[in-house]
């Protein structure tokens, strides 16, 4: 099948959806530290409006149109914001989770300093994510990808402690180094093939190029740029260190924005620029699959060795996000669907766990695994949400994680790559090995006399901490149980993959 350029309709909506949170962010920054009530209203309003806009876009896309907005960034090179079905998948994930995270963050930071700055950059961060979701070509993607780096750095160093500043430095070294390579790959690509927009099935398939070496090099350069944020081994080291950031930031980094943006970028690179068949012809798919597999196993093993809860979750992310890369690298309809749907599933599961970890730390001062004993007695709802998400991660049916893993495994079998199944099994066992003890400790062990610390905030704050986790835990269940219904993430991913794989 030769990919064909998509019919698009000029529409300001993709731009508007990006700008909503930008303006919110600027307004929050301008308001200053003390306008707490107004800031909260603005934050929530922007999040709700954004979610509504994304839904509107989704309806348009379901109706078969592809709204697009473009203008020349550099003459000859357009900034393209376009909402196709892949965009909608990612955009709706981040819009929904942003709303949830905002609620959580307001509660979490109810007594912190520098909140104007925090929420300002928080909003800009989501702007960047939305731009990444809506990016219609690699240049646009790059622009928002860099914006994301810039907007997340202040969040990482938010507390201003030595450790935070150091983590921020590590973060920058990795991301900026990666993006420099990304930029070179981008320049090279455009020099070779001219400016191109994303096309399902691969925009490069439209031009006849006999440049195997160059294309391989370009792919590697760009993939390194993406791989840094997607935390593919050995480019992952920044992620565990960035755990010093406040919990909502970790949630954002791991589930919504940064890591996900990297994984999403790999999807775009493989499916919309090179195309699955070219990627595979160039031998790149196999290489990516190997890298992803190593990451999956390595991340799980290291997670097993952690005694700090957030570190464990971080390495778990390293491992889990590579399922997405693995899915598209394995290729074929089923595995690709598995990868795509994991984009959403991993998001809701992991964000739940980070919410809960933050809650544990805030209310009880619990940060280490050995302190989890008997915690379910004290915080049953949070512990419940955490457990559901963890079981989902392990892949227990009928939770969301199971659906992803099932499709990945089936896809591997279908394409005859049985070793991938081995990786999945190993990973699942390892997941179980580090998550089950946590669940066991929370529910089965007796509670200690005294908890390590923590505060007792107002009931509203506690509600703000617990409710988001419950909601996402519910999603974890719903996405698994209702996977077969229409407009479920799985259904949507299947729709997308029809465009990718004939």
């Amino acid at each position: 099948m030769t990919p064909v350029a998509i019919e698009t309709t000029l529409h300001p909506l993709p731009l508007v959806v990006v700008l909503v949170s930008l303006f919110a962010g600027l307004a929050i920054a301008v308001l200053g530290e003390h306008q707490q009530r107004l800031r909260t209203v603005l934050n929530l309003a922007a999040a709700v409006v954004k979610l509504a806009l994304v839904l509107w876009i989704a309806i348009l896309v379901v109706g078969g149109s592809v709204p697009e907005f473009r203008f020349a960034l550099v003459p000859g090179f357009d900034l393209v914001l376009r909402a196709d079905s892949v965009s909608v998948l990612f955009a709706s994930l981040s819009a929904a989770l942003w709303l949830v995270t905002t609620v959580y963050a307001i509660a979490y930071l109810h007594r912190s300093s520098n909140r104007a700055r925090f929420f300002g950059f928080f909003s800009i961060c989501v702007t960047a994510t939305m731009g990444i979701a809506m990016a219609g070509n690699l240049l646009t993607f790059f622009v928002f990808y860099e914006l994301l780096t810039l907007a997340t750095w202040p969040l990482v160093v938010h507390t201003g402690s030595r450790a935070a500043v150091r983590a921020g430095r590590t973060y920058l070294v990795y991301t900026l180094g990666g993006s420099a390579l990304f930029l070179l790959g981008l320049i090279w690509l455009y020099a070779l093939a001219g400016p191109q927009d994303f096309i399902a099935g691969g925009s490069l398939a439209l031009v006849d190029l006999d440049e195997t070496r160059a294309l391989q090099a370009i792919f590697v350069l760009v993939a390194i740029g993406m791989g840094v944020k997607a935390a593919i081994v050995p480019l992952h080291a920044w992620l565990p260190r960035a755990m010093v950031a406040p919990a909502p930031v970790s949630a954002l980094l791991h589930a919504v924005a940064v890591v996900k943006a990297g994984a999403f970028g790999l999807v775009r690179l493989v499916e919309d620029v090179f195309g699955a068949s070219l990627t595979s012809d160039l031998g790149l798919a196999q290489a990516l699959a190997v890298a992803a597999s190593i990451t999956i196993v390595y991340g799980s093993i290291v997670a097993l060795l952690q005694d700090d809860l957030k570190k464990l979750l971080a390495y778990s992310t390293v491992s889990q996000v590579s399922y997405i890369a693995l899915g598209i690298a394995v290729g074929g309809a089923l595995a690709t669907v598995g990868g795509m749907v994991h984009l959403v599933h991993q998001g809701v599961m992991k964000i739940t766990m980070f919410f809960c970890a933050g809650t544990f730390a805030t209310l009880l001062g619990v940060t280490r695994i050995d302190q989890l004993d008997g915690l379910a007695r004290r915080l049953p709802w949070s512990a419940g949400a955490f457990s559901v998400a963890a079981l989902g991660m392990i892949g227990l049916p009928p939770l969301a994680g199971f659906v992803s893993k099932w499709y990945l495994g089936a896809g591997a079998v279908a394409t005859g790559q049985l070793w991938v199944v081995g990786v999945l099994v190993a990973s699942t066992l390892l997941n179980a090995a580090y998550f089950l003890p946590l669940i066991a400790r929370m529910w089965l062990r007796p509670a200690p006399e005294r908890w390590p610390g923590g505060t007792t905030p107002s009931r509203l704050v506690v509600f703000g901490l617990v409710a988001p986790a419950l909601f996402t835990a519910f999603c974890t269940i719903a996405f698994g149980v209702l996977a077969g219904s229409s407009y479920s993430p799985l259904d949507w991913a299947t729709e997308i993959v029809r465009g990718y794989v004939p």
Binding site: A29, G32, F71, A72, L73, V74, P75, F77, S113, N114, A116, R117, F142, V143, E146, L147, T149, L150, W153, P154, V157, H158, T159, G160, S161, R162, V165, G168, R169, L172, L176, G177, S179, A180, L183, L184, I187, W188, Y190, A191
Partner: protein
């Protein structure tokens, strides 16, 4: 209409300067602002004419070259003139607060400031080698005098060094002018280009001239005067020095090379200039990284950023010309913002030692934000003017297969990230309890004082340039060197 507007560009600030000298201090603000503001409509008229396909030209006193001097505005000179206006307008806003017209320093500042503006405009309009010499001297002398305005010994030493090297450079330039006039019988740069022909003679004369210009542009290894001069000068002066004053000689250099430099048409000279640029980028960035003072850091950043301009000579393509011109623009705006922000922080904290910046973001968020936004452009990260420039430059380097240049450009922006983030990270860091005690002599300004607004506005503009690059580039396209097609 348009030719008269050229005269307004020079005469309006000049008349304002004279009026400021004669009139009582309370009229200074109004006169100065009027003199600067009047140039905006004039620029607009000229730009409209140039965009309409005209080359706006006027032979002064009706005597066309070679007899006399002509003012001429094409896309290139207009781009620079707009940079002048924008930087001067915002920096003036800052200066209204930092050099109040009734203070001693203000009375000294404003007349020279206006003369500087007039001479920079005159320089961009002129293509007469000797007239350029006079305007250059004017620019140098005003710049030196304004560096010394504060009266600090360190500033005066910097001013003295700048003055000596500047005068020496001018003499090299003047000597070359003499030789070129002897050979061609004209001082008009374009006519010199037509008549000069090739040969060792022409090459050597041009080499002398270029050497002089390189000293004034502070291209490594001739940069020794710049860091102290830019670092020790008062805020608005630093801003305009880095944003404009070092650019004027680069402007002349580019004009000379591409419009009259037929004699230099061999790869070696261009390569050497490019190499100097590459060294400047790397050396300047590393030097910036190891600085312990904010303004010195920003000054070394200028040394590095000027290096990018030199890459134009080996690349020598339309794409490179557009990229470099845009870079000059983006860097000018961003660097002015950076210096203003740095100056505000210095004024507020009482010192610009980097360690004092710890926690600055909590008290001076606007200035830290301005610095960071300008830094985004300096690093060449999107979306910013600096990114567009870097993108086009990388593209140009890639097209000409200059892999070395590509590597240097990439390395340069990474190194820039190191020094920019070093500052911002300190500002974001939490002060340790012991050091959080406010030291005496620190008078925090209001969050939205005129000085902060000026810095922030320029910084935002540096970002906006990255989104609204198209109109600027279409103007630049109307000033491409002969032999380059858009």
């Amino acid at each position: 209409m348009a030719p008269d507007a050229l005269a307004v560009l020079v005469f309006a600030p000049l008349v304002a300067a004279l009026a400021v000298i004669v009139a009582p201090p309370r009229a200074t603000t109004a006169l100065a602002l009027a003199g600067i503001a009047l140039t905006a409509p004039a620029l607009w008229v000229v730009t409209a004419a140039v965009l309409g396909g005209e080359v706006v030209e006027v032979a002064l006193a009706g005597a066309a070259p070679p007899l006399g001097i002509a003012w001429r505005a094409d896309g290139f000179s207009l781009t620079m003139a707009w940079l002048t206006f924008v930087v001067v307008a915002f920096v003036s806003l800052h200066a209204l607060a930092s050099f109040p017209s009734t203070s001693d320093a203000g009375r000294r500042f404003w007349p020279m400031w206006l003369i500087l503006v007039a001479s920079v405009y005159a320089l961009f309009l002129s293509a007469d080698l000797f007239n350029l010499y006079v305007t250059l001297e004017l620019v140098t002398l005003t710049a030196v005098a304004m560096i010394a305005i504060g009266g600090a010994p360190a500033a005066m030493r910097a001013a003295m060094r700048y003055l000596l090297l500047g005068l020496m450079a001018s003499l090299f330039y003047l000597l070359a002018t003499a030789l070129l006039y002897g050979q061609t019988g004209t001082l008009d740069l374009y006519q010199v280009g037509e008549r000069l022909g090739e040969g060792a003679l022409a090459t050597t004369a041009l080499a002398l001239m270029i050497t002089g210009l390189l000293v004034k542009s502070a291209i490594v290894p001739l940069h020794v005067w710049l860091p102290a001069a830019h670092g020790k000068a008062p805020g608005p002066v630093s801003a305009v020095l880095s944003a404009l004053v070092v650019k004027v000689t680069l402007y002349i250099l580019i004009r000379l090379w591409f419009w009259a430099g037929g004699a230099l048409d061999d790869g070696l000279a261009a390569f050497v200039l490019g190499l100097l640029g590459a060294v400047a980028i790397v050396y300047g960035s590393i030097a910036a990284i190891v600085q312990t003072r904010l303004k010195m850091l920003v000054a070394y950043s200028t040394v590095a950023q000027l290096g990018y301009v030199m890459l134009l000579f080996p690349l020598a393509s339309t794409a490179a010309f557009r990229a470099v011109t845009f870079h000059v623009l983006a860097h000018g705006v961003a660097k002015a913002a950076m210096f203003l922000a740095a100056a505000n922080l210095l004024a507020a904290l009482g010192s610009d030692r980097l360690q004092r910046l710890v926690g600055a973001d909590q008290r001076y968020p606007v200035n830290v934000l301005a610095f960071a936004l300008a830094g985004v452009s300096i690093m060449g990260l999107p979306p910013s003017g600096g990114f567009v420039a870097k993108w086009m430059l990388l593209e140009a380097a890639w097209q000409s297969q200059g892999w070395g240049w590509v590597a240097v450009i990439s390395a340069g922006s990474l190194l820039a990230a190191v020094y920019v983030f070093r500052v911002v990270a300190l500002a974001y860091a939490q002060p340790r309890p012991a050091s959080s005690v406010r030291r005496p002599g620190t008078t925090p300004r209001g969050r939205f004082g005129a000085t902060s607004v000026a810095a922030l506005a320029l910084a935002v503009l540096a970002i906006v340039l990255g989104i609204a690059s198209a109109p600027v580039l279409s103007l630049i396209d109307l000033g491409l060197p002969p032999g380059m097609a858009p």
